[in-house]
């Protein structure tokens, strides 16, 4: 049997077939070989996947807590107004809560939308424009929200 190096079928270990090697050995499609470049593209997609799950767990507490306070307790939505916001943002605890919730929810949502765009926009140009719009809106919203939390002035008038 000849060992043909141009075929995808590698040489069978120990040579030839037997009961333990009844079929030719086929190399795994993404196996690292000597020819694989040392620097591959990195692990961005894996990091993004992990971020969705980690941020999701934290958001359960932050978002459901936020809904409970704003829509359920103490008369629900009826109590909300400038005075209520001023009362809550007087405390660094709620400032940090809202800041963390803003950043995590925006990044989580933006990454989710990136996936959705990748799934449905079939033309490269469409994807480029939609993602450009998405990233612009995301950066704008995060910066605006952060600015509002840090510069809030209860005595504005």
């Amino acid at each position: 049997m000849s060992t043909d190096t141009t075929s995808a079928i590698g040489p069978v270990e120990g040579g030839g077939y037997d009961v333990d090697n009844p079929a030719p050995y086929i190399e795994a499609p993404r196996k690292r070989t000597g020819r694989t470049p040392r620097a591959t593209r990195g692990n961005f997609e894996m990091a993004a996947w992990l971020f969705m799950r980690l941020s999701g767990v934290v958001l359960v507490v932050l978002v459901l807590g936020h809904l409970l306070i704003q829509l359920f307790l103490d008369g629900g939505v009826s109590k909300i107004g400038f005075a209520f916001v001023a009362g809550r943002w007087a405390s660094p605890f709620w400032q940090v809560w809202d800041l963390l919730m803003l950043w995590l929810a925006m990044l989580h949502g933006a990454n989710g939308l990136r996936t959705v765009i990748n799934d449905y926009a079939e033309r490269a140009n469409t994807r480029l424009w939609l993602k450009g719009l998405l990233y612009t809106a995301t950066v704008f919203t995060i910066l605006l929200g952060t600015l509002v939390i840090f510069t809030f002035d209860p005595n504005i008038r």
Partner: protein
């Protein structure tokens, strides 16, 4: 329709569709919500004026829908995490989905009065 958007058509696929739709809706809401909250930097009157529209019966109904979307996305998100990280997750994904739906129905029933009570009082008096 782009390839690969219909997948097997059972609980797993429909929960994924619902997770995706609710996620996108929540993101669009969040964008608007940061804009309206930014009005506290304009003036107390501007903020209170916009929030006043949030207290009308129609918007109360939208708020109930928002609670529905967030609760489903949060509960189902925890299920997705369990499927990915818990060794028995994939085997119990269907049971976990019906658990999610059960908890969601109970919480939505419990939210009726707190979220919609003020709207009902305004519409039907007392």
């Amino acid at each position: 329709m782009p390839a690969g958007t219909l997948y097997r058509g059972r609980e797993g696929m429909w929960s994924w569709v619902a997770h995706r739709v609710t996620g996108v809706l929540i993101f669009f809401f969040l964008f608007v919500h940061v804009l309206d909250t930014a009005l506290v930097r304009v003036s107390p009157e501007a903020y209170d004026e916009v929030v006043a529209t949030y207290k009308t019966p129609i918007v109360a109904l939208l708020e109930y829908g928002l609670v529905a979307a967030i609760l489903f996305h949060a509960l189902n998100g925890l299920r997705v995490i369990a499927v990915d990280f818990w060794s028995k997750g994939p085997r119990y994904q269907k049971q976990m989905l019906w658990t999610v739906v059960g908890i969601w129905v109970v919480l939505m029933a419990g939210s009726l009065y707190p979220v919609l009570g003020h709207a009902a009082r305004e519409l039907f008096g007392s």
